[in-house]
Subunit: 279 residues, 6 copies
């Protein structure tokens, strides 16, 4: 089992074999994010991505109140976004663009991570929470979650991933425009109905349990198959069916040479649980 790395704003533990639990760990501030945090989050996922000891990751927020309340507006207002610069607007745009691109990249680390990421969401899940959740692969929610694409309420269009990923997660532009233009709060049931989350559970604890059960199930499968499936679905989202098929064919021309296929088939015949070499 992997050594439990230490991070400042994230707790990374290994509750089960091959399952990592990444907890946003700033409960006293409702897990609100500032720049140091998202930079650290990228390091967390970049580290777990190739680790042979990790097959699935559960991402949740510490404390009872929030997955994350989003951007720490106070910190941000003292930082780059509103810094009164003397340079002209074009130069300020360059500074802002570099800042956004790096911020986006930190969130994209979740999507880029080779291992499936299950977000277990509860409480407030505002603004950046949706950017983060939609970069994950599967989302489970407690009944009390209060989601919002909150950005228009602070005068900006969501730019760290929500507008690019949310419509492709739920597949419905009408609903996305509704919530993104109004910034209205919506609950777990609505999130389930539109397909933003795959399951709703009574409490945060039950949500986490469901997330770990799901993680354990996925972790018991061939990592070659699981990681290939994540990659191919992400590719497929951004390409035509024909390009999807072609890429899949090339990908599997190597992946099908795994011993896992024989292990899996043999275990099924023997009605045993297969074991798979690390990846």
């Amino acid at each position: 089992m992997a050594a439990e790395q230490k991070f400042k704003y994230f707790s990374v533990t290994y509750p089960q074999e091959y399952v990592a639990h990444v907890e946003i760990n700033r409960a006293d501030k409702m897990n609100a994010f500032h720049e140091e945090m998202w930079l650290e989050m990228r390091r967390v996922f970049d580290l777990l991505s190739p680790s042979p000891d990790v097959r699935v990751i559960v991402l949740s927020g510490a404390g009872s109140k929030a997955f994350t309340s989003g951007l720490d507006v106070k910190a941000a207002s003292q930082g780059t976004l509103t810094s009164g610069s003397d340079s002209d607007s074009a130069r300020q745009a360059t500074t802002l663009r570099r800042h956004i691109v790096e911020f986006q990249d930190c969130i994209s680390a979740i999507e880029r991570c080779e291992k499936p990421v299950i977000a277990a969401i509860h409480g407030f899940a505002l603004g950046l929470a949706v950017d983060i959740a939609t970069a994950a692969d599967v989302r489970l929610s407690a009944a009390d979650t209060r989601f919002a694409v909150k950005e228009v309420d602070i005068g900006l269009a969501a730019d760290i991933g929500t507008l690019s990923r949310l419509p492709k997660v739920v597949g419905n532009y009408g609903w996305v425009k509704d919530v993104a233009l109004t910034a209205r709060i919506f609950g777990a049931e609505e999130a389930l109905r539109v397909g933003l989350v795959s399951g709703v559970y009574e409490t945060k604890e039950k949500t986490l349990k469901a997330a770990f059960d799901l993680a354990a199930l996925i972790a018991s499968k061939s990592p070659v198959a699981v990681q290939g499936t994540k990659e191919l679905l992400n590719w497929s989202r951004d390409h035509s069916v024909q390009d999807g098929l072609r890429y899949t064919g090339v990908w599997n021309s190597a992946a099908l040479q795994t011993n896992d296929i024989q292990s899996a088939i043999f275990a099924q015949m023997q009605k045993k649980k297969p074991t798979f070499e690390k990846l």
Copy 2:
């Protein structure tokens, strides 16, 4: 407040600050469209698009019977589509293609419009009604609406936008193929279930009221944030996540330099309603 322009087939009014109401105004013919009408509709939306006095547009149909019953087949049958030309089939194809391209462009004016468009739909909403509704951003429906992708019933594949936009609005190709291949009528509840509309209301009046409430809510937000959100979601629909993120970063490098962010944050702290400069 903007002067109330006069149009022949559309009534354009301003029931609230920053909210325009565009009404298809040919109730005696169930708001059926002929060429002069769609050319005029383009002028309406091209005019409202950059107007600083408009932040949201509600689009509805006059009268109790129909949002629009679609193409005025009688007018069309006397016009271009079936005109017995002496020229060869290739030349007729050129004439038809020019005609379709211009017709499509008139409907695309709704999508191209910088301001969110809320379609408030009731009664018959057949054929062209779906082309128009899916070019809008949000759709609300009265309980009595009867939708149909009617085109195959008059021997043609829908070509003014439905086949390109409807699947991306609802995100489900199976259902779209079902309704587009059968031309069957479907009701407001089914439209809600598949996500074609965001809400269903008892009557036309309640639908309009809901639309104006939604419009008022959106109009109270920063226009920089709202118009950016519309643009970025439309771009995102037609591009990969990566291209979406990049475009968003460039867009917001200018947009984040708005005073609206400070106004919005300050108003929130003060628990007041922010006001935003015209755009």
Copy 3:
């Protein structure tokens, strides 16, 4: 009416005018597929695609147990996929890639087929069943259907179409990742809720009846309109709205020159059933 061709693993019949019924005909093996079968399936659809006597195709599985239980793993394990070759891994990858590409092409024959294909699904519908079903245009299901994207359970990422097509059929990546990463069984009701199937019926027989009713309805429409609608929706799935509109305009510049429009309009006025020339 077309002559009833003979196939080894498929029964092709013409229960109604313009409607072909393709039945996977290996009930004693739960309609499991081996290479000879998918090659034959391509021949079936390539034959029906341009046939003027066929306007709609219903695809189902023989017997009471399964639409298809998927890949005949036993046959496959004696065949290419696990053949212990002496050549190096790059050369084995070439062999595998050629194999996958041809296998994909056999399933794509359903999508490529000019005529709408309605899959009537019952019983086990595992693995390859989902590849096949998502290449069809509309899916109806019996209440007893047990679906699964089964591939990860045998150590591989689904590569014959599911990962490219399933998300675009249902429009929801979160749900697809859930079922594709866990390989869990899901039922007809869940398939209906996410939009994988358009209707659920009590028994296999009632499902088939619904499929034939739907087929008859579609077959009564203009074949120019119906086949154009299938083609344009498939194109639209893989292109931007703008490219969709342009392609549609060019397509219809020829298609609108059909006599079917006049026939359809005239029949409607006369409240008669129109007849359309073969295509």
Copy 4:
């Protein structure tokens, strides 16, 4: 023959059957462009595009000094681009973006024009001259032409088409980066060598003569074939080979139904000059 329309800044004449000559007509200012001019240029090309009397267009600049010296910086500096606005940078960005998009659209009218456009270039051809020339289909040049992608010298990146079209016209990004980053002047011979122009002629007069000879040759061909060729090459530039082939197939499914094929083949057999119906 078409009536000779009157424009303020453009002279439009018909020196030969089916050939229009569009002359930028502000020789005293070296044909420098201001906003009114590019709006008028769009009207010119939108008018010629569908005209059955026009099969080819020659575009040139009046006077001996310049095709066009580019943007009339003086006029621009009094206009939108540098207007000291009181609104915030985001709002100014909106104004600028609308301005650029409309300006681009005026130049794109040349590309969008259904008929081939031959640019006959001489003298100064700076900045906007390259935007315009690369929107044309074929470019011929006098020996004295002095080209430059001049924009960086006035502190901006070329935004009216050059950076999007020039690399695709010449196919070489290295050379384009060289001239676009340095804003250096280059001559007709260099333009010929990299393929920006197809021919270099001693004087402006000989260039125009060559352009009219080429125009006459193209005008003698089937307009169905010529206009299809322009459209298909433009589509091909922006799409994969596979999408190019598919679009071509659909386009020609109508175009091949022209009588021009028989006329052309028959005339060849008879060694006569074919005549083709207007389009």
Copy 5:
């Protein structure tokens, strides 16, 4: 060495190890193509594509007069293209589209072929000759070759590949528009200058010799490396750099596991000629 298959219109021989020579064999008709020929040509390349005995293919035309004079217009005029059908224009369009798509697919067999194809061109190379040549990987030409994109001269836009592939082969849209709109003859030197051909040789015999020398050189390299290079360059042409890099990474994750790398490096160190296992 592979058995020398017999074809009606093509001679397929194996002049050197791993090199196939495909000769268009209808010299008495200047190698003009009719439908039976292009269908056969597809069979030839589909057969050679996976053959382990073939690493490079040289394609040339029999006789002294022509690579191919293009479409056999006489045969075509008796066939599908101009058949006077009674069906409406939409139905004729369907027939034409099916015909074009299949014709395109026959030419695309050359591009799809896993092995590099070197076209050795001489004499007349008109119309279809350019479709065929641009589907090949490398083109060598005799000094006497007379090329033309001839299609507009018979009233049609080239639709079997030239308009999609020629601009991407030479990278210059200006020149392509010139030759495609005028149908003018151009010679080997011009073809060399614009990059359509890679070398020009005095006679047909010397061209063939150069082609076989080039083929022998390529055939001496690792087939894993050579076939990967062809595939990756074709993919790259139709995708962004980023998608190109990604696809390359996945492709080479299998290809780098070849023994050929060690064989090649070892042979270089030993200054010997490496040998590579069949592929």
Copy 6:
């Protein structure tokens, strides 16, 4: 002026204001690359990219013999690429893919760098040299340069960028296939003729001088204009003209708000050299 950072394999100096000189500094091994080097090269360019003190970068190789002889095959053969692993081929493919993706990313750092990069090339420029050179913006060459896309000679398809970028740099697929399939050496003159390099100079020293002159010229321009031009040309390469125009419009909506425009115009009027604020 920026502090002169110290690197192990690269010398980074600032010979002129705003111009950085990056020298590959392993002359005793002909500047051959091993993993530590390309990781370091990424750090170099990531550092220079946002530095306000740098406006242009010249990249060259130390010593008289080589820009770089490419991959240090000896080092590589002891490293990842050929490591005899015990894991199955699918797992080895994962390791290789991660390795390639990171290697590609190191080279892409040059393209990603916001400032133009001029490669000054001399001597041997084999394999990886072409990957590196084509990621730069402009290439100048000494007369003695010996280029080769060398990879097939060691049994692999070039995977670090050449196959994705080289064809787009030169715009000619025929020539690229020739050199990539044969691995043949080609000289500076051929590189100039096909547009791979923009200039050829007698010696390495003269090449460097030309590079610094070009760098000085570019460094004297507005950095807002120059960096925008690089970005927009790179975007344009991978997108349609329409997407290029749109992105350009959004980019320039911020960039045109620079003071550089006024400075540039004012300086021109005054016939002085403008100065521009840092960026």
